[in-house]
Structure formats: structure tokens, C-alpha cells
């Protein structure tokens, strides 16, 4: 018989209160995953499994202790509750440690279309064939040295959340992925890249022909890359880079915990101009079928659309219940979710044409981001721009700057956001960054 996890979560909350917790919260995830990796036309690994996990938050007089387990036996759960209550008593009182007041979810969770069963209806065999076919199309290109593997995966499951403020809700969600990695080049001078897509539904994935073409183009365009001299030049970020590098770093600097801990250069900057006025950044967890759409956060705070930067002015941070209370602000629900830097009206070509000498940034490697100062420094791969035209590929250089300055130096915004990931942004022109090379 299938366990009623909604009921179980509620019972655990109840039990925790009975045993001495002032407040309690329980979440359970019950899901299934499938993945197949293929290489050189053969299956390499096949993973298929179901798993369940439970996490618990216990608050005793504003002292918080958390626990999680993959063992859902009632004995383990009981012991976890008791341990957590015992442990909480050792901790320090923190007036901000409390569950949020119950807020009504004023939208229909089903309208978010988080779950689609189309991938479950496709047999493991077909999924495998699809990955093999994707790889085959790619390696048919003579410029491709080899594939590092293609894969298909999908998962689905249900998240349950209940707490002692009376919250109890759940949502079912699904996701699918298909992608391929490739190497191209001569001898020891190889380049690695690839392409992928992900979606809530099988039907939502890009066709393998489109993925293969992108993967081959992205990998082969780096063949013959050279190192260039150290210089300060304008840099054009491809949509993938605008999303991964720029937004990826920016969200770290906007996280509530980094703000109250002063580990972000954006701490205390609400209402100030933080970027050029052509930038507007919006986070919307309520997009139907959106890759990161979600109805409520870990504490049951309902999702809402929020403007983060409006025409260059910083409007809000990502605030969970705790960091919001610390900062004397209101929690604003789950975030970052579907984060969008709103597109402008320039095509990528127009943007490249506007650059006399500069770099089209295609991918980066390495960490090199410091939220406290905003400093950014990464290994870079790109294509050199000369007189508004793309010329030769560039590698073994680094790109550096400070995020505060980079945001203010965004001179053009493209009309081509990359829809594949939950962070979406178009091509951007940064008027100056340092390239270190020879």
C-alpha cells in the first residue's frame, strides 16, 4: 500500500509539538529517476531508481535544529524528532528563528503545469535510442574527433510540506534532459563543448537535430584557437554567458543570507542605481511549465513574481523567511526561480557590428567569483571581433572585472534570450573588461 505522505508529514508535525517543539515543519520528497548514458553508439550506464527523503525543522523557543533522512522507518523518525528537540535546547535563542505566518496560496497550483507524464510514456529503449541517435548525428561531422557521451534523463516526484502554522500542501513535478558532449581539434589541441535541453515534458525538448547542430557548431568553432595579448576591450556575452556567468554570479550577490552577513557588494543598495538603465531583471516562479516554476518555498511562503532590478535600480533581494526578518523586510517567496533579464531590440549581429575590437565570450571555466567584493575572474573561450566581424577563436586567456562595474558598463541588450535554462538573458555588450593573455 502506498504511504499517504501528506498525512505522514502532518502527523510528524503534530508529534513534534506533542513532544515539546514550539514550532515544527516537515517536508517529504517521493520520486523516481531514470537516466541513460551512451557513448560510441553503446549504452554505458543505465540508472533507474525510486527514492524518498524526509526533512524536519524543529524550533524550541526560537532555537532551531534541522534533520533529514532517507530512512523513513517510524523508529528513525521518532528518534530524529527527539534528538532534534534535545539538540535545539543546547542552541542559542535567535528571535528571528520562527516559521512564517500562514499565507494563503491564491493561485491554482495545477495551473503552473509542473508535471507532465509524457516522458513516463516513452520506453527506456526509446530514450536510449534517442541519445544514441543524437550522438550519431554529431560524430557524423568529420570535424568532430569524438563524443564524450550523450545522455537522456528524466525524473518526477511529489514534494509535501506541512508545518505547525497550519500549512499543508504538495505539488507533483517532472523534468527531462537530453544532451551531448563533444571534442574537436587536432592532436593534443582539443576543445570540448556540447549542447543540451531540459524541459518539464518530453514533448517540450528541442529536437535532436537542433541539439546536434548546436553542439557541433559550438565545439568546432573553437578549432585552431589562439592566445591573444593582454588588453582591455569591449566584450559581447552570448546569451548562455549572460545567463550562466552574469546572472549566476548576480544571484549569489542578491541572496538574503549574503546580504545580512554583508558578504555581498549589493548589501544596503536597495533603491540605488546598480546597473545601466537598460537593464530590468524579473523573477517569476508562476510561469506555467517554467523550468523553475514552484508554488511555495521551503517554509511555505507562496511564490510571487518580483522585480529585482528596474531600469538599473535595485528593487529587491531574494529573501527567505529568516533573512527577511533579519533585514526587517518581507519574505518574497521562492527565488531565484525563472529569472529573466528582459530582452532589448538589438540582434546579436548588430551588437557584434558595433564593436571595433573585442571578444565574443562563448564559455568560461573556473570559479573566480567573490560576492563580497563583486570581483570576477575566469578562464575564457571566445571569438575575436575585428571591425565588427567575427574572426578567429581565442583560448587560454582569462576575463576579469568587477560585477558592480560590469553591470554599469552594459551598453547594449540583445533580443535573443536563451530559453533553455531557468535563468534567461539575451546577448549583452559590456563596454570594457580585461582579457589577460600573452
Amino acid at each position: 500500500m502506498k504511504t499517504d505522505y501528506k498525512k505522514l508529514a502532518e502527523q510528524i508535525v503534530e508529534k513534534s509539538i506533542k513532544k515539546g517543539a514550539t514550532e515544527a515543519q516537515c517536508s517529504i520528497y517521493d520520486g523516481v529517476r531514470f537516466s541513460v548514458d551512451v557513448r560510441e553508439g553503446e549504452v554505458e550506464q543505465l540508472i533507474s531508481a525510486g527514492s524518498t527523503s524526509l526533512s524536519l525543522k524543529i524550533i524550541v523557543d526560537n532555537k532551531v535544529s534541522t534533520a533529514s533522512t532517507s530512512d523513513l522507518s517510524s523508529k528513525t523518525i521518532d528518534e530524529l524528532i527527539e534528538n532534534s528537540i534535545k539538540k535545539a535546547k543546547f542552541l542559542s535563542k535567535d528571535e528571528f528563528s520562527a516559521l512564517p505566518e500562514l499565507e494563503k496560496i491564491d493561485f491554482n497550483i495545477d495551473s503552473l503545469k509542473l508535471y507532465n507524464d509524457s516522458a513516463e510514456k516513452v520506453s527506456p529503449n526509446e530514450k536510449t535510442k534517442l541519445a544514441i541517435e543524437l550522438e550519431k548525428i554529431c560524430v557524423a561531422n568529420k570535424k568532430i574527433t569524438r563524443s564524450t557521451g550523450a545522455g537522456f534523463s528524466n525524473s518526477y516526484g511529489t514534494t509535501y510540506l506541512a508545518n505547525s502554522k497550519g500549512f499543508s500542501n504538495s505539488y507533483k513535478s517532472s523534468s527531462c534532459y537530453i544532451g551531448v558532449g563533444l571534442q574537436a581539434g587536432e592532436g593534443d589541441n582539443l576543445y570540448e563543448d556540447g549542447y543540451y535541453d531540459s524541459a518539464r515534458s518530453f514533448k517540450g525538448l528541442l529536437s535532436i537535430d537542433v541539439i546536434a547542430k548546436k553542439a557541433v557548431d559550438r565545439t568546432t568553432r573553437m578549432i585552431g584557437a589562439r592566445k591573444i595579448h593582454t588588453q582591455n576591450v569591449p566584450v559581447v556575452l552570448e546569451p548562455e554567458m549572460s545567463a550562466q556567468m552574469l546572472l549566476g554570479f548576480l544571484v549569489e550577490c542578491l541572496s538574503g543570507s549574503n546580504i545580512y552577513m554583508k558578504r555581498s557588494f549589493l548589501a544596503g543598495k536597495i533603491g540605488e542605481t546598480v546597473s545601466s538603465d537598460i537593464i530590468t531583471l524579473v523573477d517569476d516562479p508562476l510561469i506555467p511549465g517554467g523550468r523553475a516554476s514552484v508554488p511555495f518555498d521551503r517554509d511555505g511562503v507562496p511564490a510571487r513574481k518580483k522585480t529585482i532590478i528596474e531600469k538599473g535600480v535595485l528593487k529587491s533581494y531574494f529573501l527567505d523567511n529568516y533573512s527577511a526578518k533579519k533585514l526587517g523586510m518581507k519574505p518574497n517567496g521562492p527565488g531565484p526561480t525563472n529569472l529573466m533579464l528582459l530582452p532589448g531590440n538589438k540582434s546579436q549581429q548588430e551588437i557584434i557590428h558595433s564593436v571595433n575590437k573585442g571578444l565574443l565570450l562563448c564559455s568560461t571555466i573556473g570559479q573566480g567569483t567573490v560576492p563580497t567584493s563583486g570581483d570576477l575572474s575566469k578562464g575564457a573561450y571566445g571569438i575575436w571581433i575585428e571591425n565588427g566581424q567575427l574572426t578567429y577563436p581565442v583560448n587560454e586567456v582569462t576575463i576579469s572585472g568587477n560585477l558592480g562595474t560590469i553591470l554599469k558598463n552594459i551598453a547594449m541588450v540583445g533580443n535573443d534570450p536563451d530559453p533553455r535554462s531557468s535563468f534567461s538573458a539575451p546577448t549583452l555588450l559590456i563596454s570594457e573588461m580585461t582579457i589577460s593573455g600573452k
Binding site: 534533520a67 535567535d94 554583508k262 557588494f265 571555466i365 573556473g366 570559479q367 567584493s373 575572474s377 576579469s400
Partner: protein
């Protein structure tokens, strides 16, 4: 989500680590006497199954024509406590219990797992894994024989996971206040301790039954210094497969807090690095990350048989300056990456990788050893029962040389001295970066001013030839290594090194 096969090394990726739970009978006994557990207790219990049941399950694994079947049972308790803003802010506990089933056929494998340790659920997981093969069953399960661990390389004295809360809170409180007291410019400090105890049992169709009990602890301090509008964060950390006494005998929590605060305050005065190619000296403290990225990953045997590593065809060739010798030794006592047996039950030892510049070995798991026809060398590791084993590093070390560190710095007319790192990353093609948190400029053989946030970039084939001075000192760096979506604890060691030419990414 899957990603392209880039490997990375993160200095402070906190793995949620464990309080003592006693949910099973055999565990009660185990926890009461962890030292004994290494010997017989766990073996006598087989995670609640009899030898006959285990054998039956393995037979189900082979029923579709698989050549090798295996079960990896895991029970792990982890704890994390954080001290911040003058209070113990949070405490967490994580329990992981489950079994992973694997069936190999040729060079492919199927994998299943479950957190429900009932015979039927494991059978289901095995049926999922067995689907990799599609032939009549022709292979037999050997008689199961218990194997004792030959050597014990980690300390089972005072395991941190079995300690009560007070001494742990005391450690983080002391490190926190040490960082705070360092300088009035220290604005914020976070100090946390993460510990775990992992109990594993490996049973396979070759007849092996073996178990291991692995402690792990790490204390991490992060300090932010503030001066006007300038803010910087420094970090300190120490730990390993050690007990509580480590923080008295080897390094005190005060020293860890001091390290973090000192780095943060120095960074306030640090300038941007001048960009371009120059001589680079890597300090002993954390530069092992270079060896890990530039040499370790390309020498994992999966990249060799798949030919995706730039080193796959270079066995026996001179790939580095002959002053360079590199090995991976999982048996160095008490280190973060140390293991008695790997996650396939193969005994760990010291594996020579590059000897006097010549490539002599790869780190393998059972599958890659079989395909390459190499001897198994005990480097199959996995993040948890939910992950299949793959070739990984443990403690990767560049052997000591002859030069004193002073002599190396004095030899540089104009160059860059790298001290602490955020981490490193490498692609299969051998291109790597290291993100330097704190460094110094060297002018006329002397350190001049501090430099922040520079990226070093290169290709492993080039850098191994450019190492032209090797120090007679040695430092170890604790990290968490990510590969194919799996994180495992590792250590890497290096003496002070001079690299003749390398690109330093800075700001002009």
C-alpha cells in the same frame, strides 16, 4: 542536472554531515564500540541479511546474463553546527541509509538503488540494474567469504560524530572568537563544524564481503573584513579522518579562526593582479589543487579507456620535467581523502602516476582496470549508495624536491606567488584554471604587495613541462572534488613549486 564533463575542486563545499542514531540493533552494538566495528561486528550482521539471502540477491543480479553483480550498503550519520553573529545559529543532522545495486556486462553497467532495505525492494533494484544485459544467465555467484580489512589508516579514537554537542560547540565558538578578536576590521564571522560516520558493506558476485567504518570531520571558518567600502572574505579550515583530539594536538580552533581573519584583513589591502604571462610560484599550502586538476583528473582511468583524457595514449612517455614525481596515496594516515578500501572493496595503496617525469599509471576502478587490462588499484569511489563507483583521486601528492622555498622565491625577478585558492577546474582536454583568492607579487626575489582574485590558466601538458623548481617542503589541502555529478572528499599535497611561465588573469 547533467553537465559537460568538467571536473572541479571546491575548497569549502560543505557536505551536510552526522548525530548518533540507533535505529537498528546491529548499529547499537557498532556505535558502542566503533573500533571493534572495523573487525567483526558489522560483518556478523550483513545489514540485517544472511549470507544466503545476499547470494540469492546477487543471483537475481546475474539472471539476465550480467557478468558481475554487486551491492553497496551504506549507513551514514552526519552533523553540522554553525556559529554566527555570536550565537549557535543552527544544527542539523542527516541520516542516509540504503543500498546500491550494480550489474556489469562488458564495458556497460546498470544501476539501481533503494532506501528501503527489504529483500523485495533490493530485488527490484537489482532487476532494474540487470536490465543492462540481455542474454541467458551463464555466470555464477561465488561462495561469499568475509574479508577483513588488512590495515586501518584512520583514527577511531574519540570520533567526532559520537561526541556530544558541547565539545563541538566549544570548538566553533573558540574559532569564531579567535577570528573576531584578530582585528577590529573583522565585521562578520561564520564558523561551522561538519562531521560524519559512514558504515559500508560491499558484497559482490566474486564472493567478496567486506566492510569499513569511516569517520570524517572538518571545521571551517569564514571571516569578512570591512574597511570603508572595501570588503573581503578569508577562510580557514582543518580536519580529516580524525577524532576530537585533532583539534588539541595538531591544530587548535583558534589557529583556524586566525587564518581566516588574517587572510581577510590582508585582502583589504590587496590590489588587482597585473595581467599577462609571468613566472609563478605556487606556495605549499593549497597549491595541491593544481596537481589535482592538471594531473590527477587526466590520469583517472575512465578518461583513458574512453580516450577522452589528453593522457590516454601517453603511458610510458615523458610528460613532465624529470624533477616531477606524482603519486596518489590513499593510505596516508588520517587525511580527508584516506581510505582503507575503496567503494568497490578493493584494498587501497600508493599508486605511482608520474615517476621522474614519465607517465607510469592511471587511477582505476574495477571496470576500467578490466577494460584496460591493468591491475586493480583501489580508486573506485562514489558519493553515496545512490551513485555508481567511478575512478577518483584520494590523496594526490607531488613529491618533495631539493630547493628551499626561500631559494625559489629569491630566484624570481618578477612574478606571482599564489597562496590561497577558491578552487580549480579542468576539462577533459587538459585545459584548467585555478582561482586564486590571495597571492603576492614577487619583485627581485622578494614578496612585495598582496594581490586578490586572480585566475591562473593553462594546459596540463604545458604546465607539467614548465615546473622547473620543486621545494623541499610539503603542504596538504583539503577539498571536495566534483566529477560526473558526484562529490567526494579528497586531499592534495605539494611542496613550493616554480612554474617558468603561466598566464595570470588580472585587471589592467
Amino acid at each position: 542536472m547533467q553537465d559537460y564533463p568538467r571536473r572541479d575542486f571546491l575548497k569549502h563545499c560543505g557536505i551536510g554531515l552526522g548525530v548518533v542514531m540507533t535505529s537498528n540493533l546491529w548499529l547499537n552494538e557498532l556505535l558502542a564500540n566503533p573500533t571493534k566495528a572495523v573487525g567483526d561486528t558489522l560483518l556478523a550482521n550483513y545489514f540485517g541479511f544472511t549470507k544466503e539471502q545476499l547470494k540469492k540477491l546477487l543471483e537475481i543480479g546475474l539472471s539476465k546474463g550480467g557478468e558481475f553483480a554487486e551491492m553497496y550498503f551504506e549507513y551514514r550519520i552526519s552533523n553540522n553546527i554553525t556559529y554566527e553573529e555570536d550565537i549557535v545559529k543552527s544544527a542539523s543532522e542527516n541520516i542516509m541509509l540504503g543500498v546500491g545495486t550494480r550489474v556489469i556486462k562488458g564495458s556497460k553497467f546498470g544501476y539501481g538503488y533503494t532506501s528501503d532495505l527489504s529483500f523485495d525492494k533490493i530485488k527490484e533494484a537489482f532487476i532494474a540494474a540487470a536490465a543492462i544485459a540481455d542474454a541467458p544467465n551463464s555466470n555464477k555467484v561465488a561462495n561469499l567469504n568475509e574479508k577483513k580489512i588488512p590495515n586501518q589508516f584512520y583514527s577511531m579514537q574519540q570520533p567526532v560524530s559520537l561526541a556530544s554537542l558541547e565539545p563541538k560547540i566549544d570548538l566553533i565558538r573558540r574559532s569564531y572568537h579567535s577570528a573576531k578578536a584578530y582585528d577590529s576590521k573583522i565585521a562578520r564571522v561564520t564558523s561551522s563544524i561538519a562531521d560524519e560516520m559512514q558504515y559500508i558493506l560491499i558484497v559482490n558476485s566474486e564472493g567478496l564481503i567486506v566492510s569499513d567504518v569511516r569517520p570524517q570531520v572538518r571545521l571551517v571558518v569564514s571571516a569578512t573584513a570591512e574597511d570603508g567600502n572595501t570588503r573581503n572574505t578569508g577562510r580557514g579550515n582543518a580536519g580529516g579522518r580524525v577524532g576530537l583530539d585533532f583539534y588539541e594536538k595538531i591544530i587548535t580552533p583558534e589557529q583556524i579562526g586566525y587564518q581566516a581573519a588574517e587572510e581577510a584583513v590582508i585582502l583589504l589591502k590587496a590590489k588587482d593582479a597585473p595581467p599577462g604571462e609571468m613566472q609563478v610560484v605556487l606556495s605549499k599550502d593549497e597549491s595541491g589543487v593544481m596537481i589535482h586538476e592538471a594531473v590527477g583528473h587526466p590520469l583517472e582511468a575512465d578518461g583513458a579507456w574512453k580516450k577522452t583524457s589528453i593522457m590516454w595514449d601517453k603511458l610510458g612517455q615523458l610528460v613532465a620535467n624529470p624533477i616531477v614525481t606524482i603519486y596518489d596515496d590513499a593510505t596516508i594516515r588520517d587525511l580527508r581523502g584516506t581510505l582503507n578500501i575503496d567503494d568497490e572493496g578493493v584494498e587501497c595503496n600508493n599508486v605511482m602516476l608520474i615517476e621522474k617525469g614519465k607517465l607510469v599509471g592511471f587511477l582505476n576502478d574495477k571496470l576500467s582496470a578490466k577494460i584496460l587490462k591493468h591491475k586493480e588499484n583501489g580508486h573506485g569511489r562514489r558519493q553515496s549508495y545512490m551513485h555508481p563507483p567511478i575512478p577518483r583521486m584520494n590523496n594526490t601528492v607531488l613529491a618533495k624536491g631539493d630547493s628551499s622555498p626561500e631559494e625559489i622565491i629569491q630566484s624570481v625577478k618578477k612574478g606571482f606567488y599564489a597562496v590561497t585558492y577558491q578552487g580549480g577546474m579542468v576539462s577533459g582536454t587538459g585545459k584548467f584554471t585555478f582561482s586564486v583568492n590571495l597571492g603576492y607579487m614577487i619583485e627581485n626575489g622578494r614578496l612585495t604587495y598582496p594581490v586578490k582574485n586572480a585566475t591562473l590558466i593553462g594546459t596540463n601538458i604545458d604546465i607539467l613541462r614548465e615546473i622547473d623548481m620543486v621545494g623541499n617542503d610539503m603542504g596538504f589541502f583539503l577539498g571536495t572534488c566534483g566529477k560526473d555529478g558526484q562529490s567526494v572528499p579528497v586531499t592534495c599535497g605539494t611542496p613550493t613549486l616554480r612554474i617558468n611561465r603561466m598566464t595570470v588573469g588580472g585587471v589592467a
